[in-house]
């Protein structure tokens, strides 16, 4: 079972998405703050983390660095409602997968599959 952590400051969004993923057989947890996310990562192991690019206090990329310290093998997918060029260039330079909200749950599932495949390929 794929373990997914969803981090987004929009509780309604993140809780609904977690539930939908759970219905589709994922082990999905969610948090609305960076602190909570970091605590969850420390407490539990995840395969993939879906991160909102814009969080209060920490940006998606900064939070990613923090999480990486605890879980170096974690894969990331970035989600945002803001498709500014700067954002894309930053995320692209990190070689990350990026999705613009709103996004269909099927596309999220495809991306998760892709990220995991790449991670495994990369690891091998």
């Amino acid at each position: 079972m794929t373990r997914v952590l969803l981090v987004d400051d929009e509780k309604e969004f993140v809780s609904a998405l977690a539930e939908r993923l759970a219905l589709r057989g994922y082990a999905a947890d969610w948090s609305v703050t960076a602190e909570d996310a970091l605590a969850k990562v420390k407490a539990k192991e995840y395969d993939v983390c879906l991160l909102d690019m814009r969080m209060p206090r920490l940006s998606g990329l900064e939070l990613k660095q923090e999480i990486k310290k605890t879980a170096p093998c974690m894969r990331f997918i970035f989600l945002t409602g803001h498709g500014s060029e700067q954002w894309f260039e930053e995320a692209s330079s990190e070689g990350e997968f990026c999705l613009i909200k709103p996004v269909r749950v099927e596309q999220i599932m495809e991306t998760i599959a892709e990220v995991i495949k790449e991670g495994k390929g990369g690891a091998a």
Binding site: H82, I100, R104
Partner: protein
């Protein structure tokens, strides 16, 4: 020659008077500035010129008139001396005879004939000689007439010669019909009772003297007596012994001049002199028109000079004013164009930022709706706890579809601001154009739209973002197909422009764009296809893409007469950053 004329016409044509319909009309009243400039320059240059020419005209005329008068007076003065001398010489000769001879000797037979002979030899023109005694009776006579014994008592000349010692008569036609005068002198009273010598003088020589004066074709010199009777022949004023048509001038001791109006010959310049001790007045005349002939030539030169100067000045003033007006107008137009271009660029940039901001703000709640609706649908479909109702799922599907549609629009809005990064590769513009047009091939055939492509063969492969350029062309050609009616035509041309740029022109004969729409055509959400599925973002995205390709896009159109989009692109795009394109 024709090119030169065209260039000249181009240089002096006031372009600001009839600016092209679409062009900027300027903030100033150029016509007024132009007129003021012409009027001002003309005033400051022409007024002094006219004053100077007029003054010169007057001065030259006066000087010439004065010179002519002085010349005539000089001739009159010289001639007066000649005439006076002629008469004095003869009077003196008669005096000399009286001094030399005694009364008795003169009376002796044959002596007077001898004296007459001597006088004829010495002076010529002496016709006869008579001795008149103190009683006024002819005592002796030598000459062609029988005058001995003739009594002259009571005749005016005798009284005058008694009183003054000498007398000169008026002219008369005497011997052989030739003009003659009579001159008489009185003996010195100290020598006894006065007696007189009287002689008839032929005036032919004096007339000759007058006739050889060089006075030009209109000149005339003659003598009149104090009653105005002509004493010598005149060319213009009558025959000898007729009354002269010229009035007798007022007496003056010196030579004088006057201008007399002649009814036939216009103003006449007259130099005259009263001849001393004679009834004669010397008249020297010239027609004023002739004396001023030299002046006429000068005047003609002066007028030519004036006309030529004014023409040259007016042309120069016109050219300078027009050049100034054109420069002013062009500078204003340039400034206004730059301003309006900047304005539209700024407006589009801020609109882009605004759209991106709006899109972002909408995207987050949209995502919530998406997930919530999705979750409800999931629950209805997957959780057996809920009784799946097809109608509810149908409603949820349409909610999700709407969210999808909103998402597409907001993503386009983000795209307008973002445009992505550029992927540079060399490619053939001709091929790209044909690839784009191939999408419309079927529609063109079906609607009998005539599509022409002309890409200059000299155009090299260009280095740019092929995908973005295709998107630009697809958008514009797509718009053209929507604007065209069946049977219209579409022309796509591409040709080099300057050294390193290319101009692509997409021209249709469709419905065209109205003036007010032209201003907003590149603005986001501006659409004429509302209700027909247009988001109003197509041309703004196109605009953004062309700018991303370091180019410029422009449109010319007239409502009802089609539209032409011109895209100006560099042949090789400058590399700003070659980032990898991100998925979106």
């Amino acid at each position: 020659m024709n090119r030169l004329t065209a260039l000249l016409v181009q240089a002096v044509r006031p372009r600001f008077l009839n600016p092209p319909d679409m062009a900027y009309r300027g903030v100033r009243d150029y016509r007024r500035v132009w007129f003021l400039s012409i009027a001002g320059l003309a005033a400051v240059s022409l007024i002094p010129l006219l004053i100077l020419t007029l003054t010169d005209y007057q001065l030259t005329r006066k000087a010439l008139q004065l010179e002519n008068t002085l010349r005539l007076v000089r001739i009159a003065s010289n001639t007066r001396r000649t005439v006076t001398h002629f008469l004095e010489e003869r009077i003196s000769a008669l005096h000399f005879v009286l001094e030399e001879e005694t009364y008795d000797r003169l009376r002796s037979p044959g002596h007077l004939e001898a004296v007459l002979k001597n006088l004829k030899v010495g002076f010529g023109g002496v016709v006869d000689l008579g001795l008149i005694n103190a009683d006024g009776v002819q005592a002796a006579y030598a000459g062609p007439f029988e005058l001995i014994g003739k009594n002259y008592v009571g005749q005016p000349w005798l009284q005058e010669v008694r009183a003054k010692g000498a007398y000169v008569s008026d002219m008369f036609l005497g011997f052989r019909g030739a003009p003659h005068i009579v001159a008489a002198v009185a003996s010195d009273a100290a020598k006894g009772r006065g007696y007189f010598l009287r002689s008839t003088l032929d005036m032919e020589r004096l007339i000759n003297l007058l006739s050889i004066l060089d006075l030009g074709a209109s000149g005339d010199a003659f003598l009149i007596n104090r009653q105005g009777v002509l004493q010598t022949p005149s060319k213009f004023f009558g025959k000898v012994l007729d009354n002269s048509t010229l009035k007798v001038p007022p007496y003056s001791e010196h030579t004088q001049s006057a201008v007399v109006e002649d009814p036939e010959r216009g103003p006449i310049l007259v130099g005259y002199a009263y001849i001393k001790d004679s009834p004669f007045i010397l008249m020297v005349t010239r027609q004023q028109a002739e004396t001023m002939r030299a002046w006429m030539d000068i005047r003609l030169d002066l007028i030519w000079f004036l006309v030529a100067s004014i023409t040259v000045l007016l042309f120069a003033i016109y050219a300078i004013s027009t050049y100034m007006g054109n420069s002013l107008y062009e500078a204003d137009v340039k400034q206004a164009t730059a301003m309006s271009h900047m304005e539209s660029t700024n407006r589009l940039a801020s609109l882009g930022r605004l759209s991106a901001g709006v899109a972002h703000e909408i995207n987050n709640p949209l995502a919530v709706i998406n997930e919530k609706a999705g979750l409800i649908k999931d629950l209805l479909e997957l959780d057996p706890k809920y009784n799946a109702d097809e109608r509810l799922i149908g409603h949820l599907d349409s909610v999700l579809d709407s969210v999808d549609r909103c998402g597409r629009i907001t993503k386009q809005m983000l795209g307008f601001a973002r445009e992505g990064s550029v992927e540079i590769q060399p490619f053939s513009l001709d091929k790209v154009v044909r690839d784009v047009l191939s999408f419309f091939e079927k529609e063109a055939v079906y609607r009998s739209i005539d599509v022409n492509v002309a890409v200059a063969p000299s155009l090299p492969d260009i280095r740019s973002d092929r995908g973005k350029l295709m998107q630009v062309l697809l958008n514009i050609v797509g718009n053209a197909f929507q604007a065209m009616r069946n049977g219209d035509s579409l022309n796509v041309t591409a040709e080099p422009h300057g050294e390193d740029r290319v101009k692509i022109r997409i021209q249709d004969t469709g419905a065209g764009i109205s003036k007010e729409n032209m201003k907003q055509i590149f603005e986001p959400f501006f659409t004429t296809k509302s209700g027909k599925g247009g988001s109003g973002l197509g041309l703004s995205i196109t605009y953004g893409l062309v700018r991303k390709l370091q180019g410029a896009i422009d449109v010319q159109s007239e409502e009802g007469a089609g539209a032409a989009f011109t895209i100006d692109l560099p042949l090789t795009i400058r590399e700003v950053r070659n980032d990898e394109s991100a998925a979106g």
